[in-house]
Symmetry: C3
Subunit: 241 residues, 3 copies
């Protein structure tokens, strides 16, 4: 399969290194672009449209077809816009504990009020509008399945997140009518969003996809660091026919 | 133990072949009758009462006692009626991601509106009122844990489902007062009903049983094909003492 | 780590014997006091304050610091009061399918009405106000993951529960403002409280903790008997930095 992996907040394309290696060893092709305003990209004043445009250009310029397009976390909202732009190049969408926004929503809308308040406060304090969760919060709620050394190592691979793509409201006139197969990969111990019917990932956001293929695995929000081999296996199950 | 396994929609008694083999090797006796109007039965104009009457006759004519009566999916509604008819022959009821109807409901009532619409449309188009889900829908939502070859092989063992037993409203004056031990076996990746508080199998339908024994396993709706050995183990856990 | 394990209803400190052994073999120190009015304690006319005072005294008299304080089931409500009393001695709170009461609640408030009725009836009938669940109910809903011999053996280690600590309303003016790390250890097959949004353990009670570290494991309410080795591993994951 041809995978294109879209990373989440605070990450860049390199976060997939171990997962991509495992997928390649299993015979698959993998692309993992860095979204605009992320990682080494010096700009932090980017928009959500900059993010999705970059992925579209990546796929088109590489001439990729039959793409299994994977979005993790924030990356789910990017997958939605990419799917609207170039559906004919895609074979299946995989949402891996990822945002599925309704038409007119922004990513911040899907965060509990006290998370929104923290994010806005951190963004104002940073100088360039970007924000980064305190290590302690991230360690507890994103890396709950890791030991401290793994959590610290993963933290060292993150960078500040631009606020624009979290605030931009998305127009999604076509997404929910697309005839593209959809999978939801659920990490069952993920508490990056508070578990439960009000804010939890699954089945709250997954159910917005209409009929979807469910694949589940143990682990928290960052299994790309804590169990990349298993994650690669589950992405194959989520992406296969 | 003496198991009697009641299959779900689109199936017949042969669907349990691998599970029954594993149970027999573990020292248990297994019956797996085909419901009226299912499988090789030429009639498709059957009622829900025809289905439950057939299971009652199967148990009585074979002189079975201390039966662990297992219902899968649609088969749960049959187990309810059989339990009302011959409670003294039963030792325990096991609902395996199965319908637990309230007094006066029909099986269609427990399907989301868009599923009901699809089922009614397919039934009208079939000539004899029966219906079969499109392979793609079934593969995605019933066989999400299978590779394509396994999904195709399982699909080849299904047959059209009569509509009558889905539409018939059940009178259940005694079921909820029966003093029979009850288990719920939950396949955690089952999306045959959309997961979530509104339509999901568990804990929505299981909670109707009052106090019950919960046993859980990985897998989708059709673990009788995807993992019959594990399913047999879990049925033993659900049915013991 | 220095663990202090607070048992639940019908138990005493000896219920942790196998778990404590596994923790000790992994290099940790473990205390497991028996709550007032439990086990061999002849009194059954105790209050919730007697229970929490005993744990405070246990920790203070032993001079323990940096305690990972674990509460199981009823023990969660005791952990809340101990945390208010001696927060500086604690490193982290671990709620293991445990009650997290709101200010002014009693433990009975978090039981479904039909459970409350059974408990009050059993308490009135016992002579000294204590109560014990019938074996059949306990075997089905607490020991659902056990065979009958294990369930009987565990049952043999229980004793009548005093009613006072279930009825006493707790003042919790400080608990929800404490800056102590909190974990929730969830046994996924636990049906001691009926699963679901209305009465279930997780995420209903866990979400009251605010941001918390989630650790999950298979098993019912009594994994301290059915899988003490795994439980010890998970307590370490829940308690570590």
């Amino acid at each position: 399969m041809q995978f294109v992996l879209v990373h989440g907040a605070w990450h860049d394309g390199h976060c997939w290194a171990e997962v991509a290696g495992a997928l390649a060893r299993a015979g698959h092709r993998v692309g993992a672009p860095t979204l605009a305003g992320h990682g080494q990209d010096a700009r932090r004043d980017v928009s959500h449209a900059d993010c999705s445009r970059g992925v579209v250009e990546y796929i088109v310029q590489a001439g990729l077809d039959e793409v299994v397009l994977v979005g993790h976390s924030f990356g789910g909202s990017v997958v939605q816009k990419v799917a609207e732009a170039i559906p004919a190049r895609l074979r299946r969408l995989v949402f891996f504990n990822a945002f599925v926004l309704l038409d007119g929503q922004c990513v911040l809308d899907e965060h509990p009020p006290h998370y929104r308040a923290i994010i806005e406060r951190l963004s104002r304090a940073s100088g360039d509008g970007s924000f980064r969760l305190p290590f302690r919060v991230w360690r507890e709620t994103f890396m709950n399945d890791a030991d401290l050394a793994t959590a610290r190592r993963a933290w060292g691979r993150t960078s500040p997140e631009p606020i624009g793509p979290f605030r931009d409201r998305l127009r999604l006139p076509r997404f929910f009518g697309l005839d593209l197969p959809r999978s939801w990969l659920n990490a069952r111990d993920d508490t990056a969003l508070p578990p439960g019917p009000q804010w939890g990932w699954h089945p709250r956001l997954s159910s917005r996809l209409g009929p979807y293929r469910l694949v589940q695995m143990p682990g928290g929000h960052e299994t790309l660091f804590t169990d990349p081999e298993l994650l690669a296996c589950k992405l194959i199950e989520a992406g296969r026919d």
